[in-house]
């Protein structure tokens, strides 16, 4: 079968990109992995978040602003799928439990403000101001940063909505179709997958951690490593937390998601009692009421990290038409991937900031 674009990877990044390409009239095929393929999309926290992102790299700060500002539009478009993604943008908190954290946060936030030419909105709240907004907060929390631009979404519902939306626009989705080989032939690319052989003029690699080995086949050296995060889920509780925070959020259905751990353990996406204990203790320190709550699930997931933590958007120089879209934060960036990123892939006039994410930055 002949397509305009083959997107390899049907997770948050691949689905958003395929949806965006289809919106621009492209004939798109999405090849997805198997149920047990490592999938950050099915293990993440669901924040649509700018706080802290890009404080040390202005293009990333600006890109996250673009993405979060396009998010309400994406959310509206996805309503047609009738999947309730529970998107909210009321703002979000990141707590500080000591003076050092407060000072580091304050300088991070002001760096982010500068990096976005003042587009990033935030406020540093001391304990008493914070307590007025969140009465359940413990006195161990000395303050917090708050950004009205932050929000959250149900990430599993989002993935489902994107898959439905792209298929409504004519995208062909093929699951259980691991890619075995990609070969350039007469200015096109032939992709051999578990379910057949497909041809397209353009290939977009959205396979997360697998982008490394897929890129290799095409002469691209995409540096990507895994970082594990573990997550705890509580029983459903009556709503008590109106805003998402970096490590604790209450979902629309009432469960509380607790997380934010960072481990380098290769491709192991399991859980460990030690880390789950740490994240539970930090959550209880912040919200003492959580100590009486039952936990019902825990899982581990692998973040897709590049050497500097920023996305890699790169067209292959030896195989033009092959694009790498390698990043974490696929939820936050979904709206940018479904919009401006597709302009760049299609070679239309595009936002110059995207060029800042080429791999040239790793060459010294």
């Amino acid at each position: 079968m002949q397509y305009d674009v083959i997107v390899i990877g049907g997770g948050m990044v691949g689905a958003a990109t395929a949806y965006g390409l289809a919106k621009q009239g492209q004939k798109v095929l999405v090849l997805d992995g198997e149920d047990l393929t490592l999938s950050a999309s099915k293990a993440n926290f669901g924040l649509v978040w700018v706080q802290g992102k890009g404080w040390d790299h202005a293009p990333y700060a600006q890109w996250c602003q673009i993405a979060t500002n396009l998010w309400p539009e994406l959310s509206d478009e996805l309503k047609a799928t009738q999947v309730d993604i529970s998107y909210q943008r009321r703002g979000g908190f990141d707590f500080c439990i000591n003076e050092q954290e407060w000072q580091e946060r304050e300088s991070m936030m002001s760096a982010l403000w500068k990096n976005t030419d003042g587009m990033f909105e935030y406020e540093m709240l001391n304990h008493s101001k914070l307590k007025k907004m969140i009465p359940e907060i413990s006195k161990s929390v000395i303050g917090a940063s708050f950004s009205p631009q932050d929000g959250h979404v149900d990430p599993l519902a989002l993935l489902q909505a994107l898959c439905k939306a792209m298929q409504n626009l004519g995208v062909t989705y093929m699951g259980n179709c691991l890619v075995e080989a990609i070969t350039p032939t007469h200015g096109e690319y032939v992709v051999k997958g578990a379910k057949g052989v497909f041809t397209a003029g353009k290939i977009v690699l959205c396979a997360g951690l697998a982008n490394g080995q897929l890129g290799e086949q095409l002469g691209m050296n995409i540096p990507v490593v895994a970082e594990r995060g573990q997550v705890l889920i509580t029983e459903r509780l009556k709503p008590f937390l109106k805003w998402p925070t970096l490590n604790v959020r209450q979902t629309a259905q009432g469960t509380v998601q607790i997380g934010d751990s960072h481990e380098d353990v290769g491709l192991n996406d399991g859980t460990t009692p030690e880390v789950l204990k740490q994240i539970a203790q930090r959550a209880v320190l912040m919200f003492p009421l959580l100590s009486s709550v039952h936990l019902v699930r825990a899982w581990g997931g692998l973040r897709i990290l590049t050497p500097d933590g920023n996305p890699i958007y790169q067209q292959s120089t030896s195989n033009p038409g092959v694009f790498s879209v390698t990043c974490h934060s696929g939820v936050t960036l979904a709206a940018a991937h479904a919009g401006p990123l597709c302009d760049w892939i299609l070679g239309d006039s595009y936002l110059p900031v995207i060029e800042q994410f080429s791999m040239d930055r790793f060459d010294v």
Binding site: E235, R236, L237, K238, Q253, P288, L289, S292, H294, V296
Partner: protein, 103 residues
């Protein structure tokens, strides 16, 4: 609908179920007691409010969640009845206990 098979069971344990007192055999689970009493539903789900009854009776499915002695979302099939136990239907999501709020 349900009855105790062993005739020698004594109905000697008093429990309160949604405000009404009942005598049930000792050494049975709260879920079994609910079936014996003949209640129509033991909980209403948090998301849609659907009425539910115990299902697996072996601690796996979490369908039998009830409020037992003031603590919500208890698996009634894994909890034995006790003299004076106060059992309530679990209506929607549980509330976080106010006593755990910090002064």
């Amino acid at each position: 609908m349900f009855k105790v098979l062993d005739d020698n069971h004594e109905f000697d344990t008093q429990i309160s179920f949604d405000g009404k007192d009942h005598l049930v055999p000792s050494n049975i689970t709260v879920a079994a007691a609910a079936l014996l009493i003949g209640v129509k539903s033991i909980r209403e789900t948090p998301v849609t409010g659907a009425k539910r009854m115990p299902l697996c009776m072996m601690g796996v499915c979490y369908e039998c969640l009830m409020k037992i002695d003031g603590v919500g979302n208890q698996r009634s099939c894994q909890t034995l009845v006790r003299q004076g136990m106060v059992i309530e239907r679990q209506i929607g999501a549980t509330e976080v206990e106010a006593e755990y709020y910090e002064a």
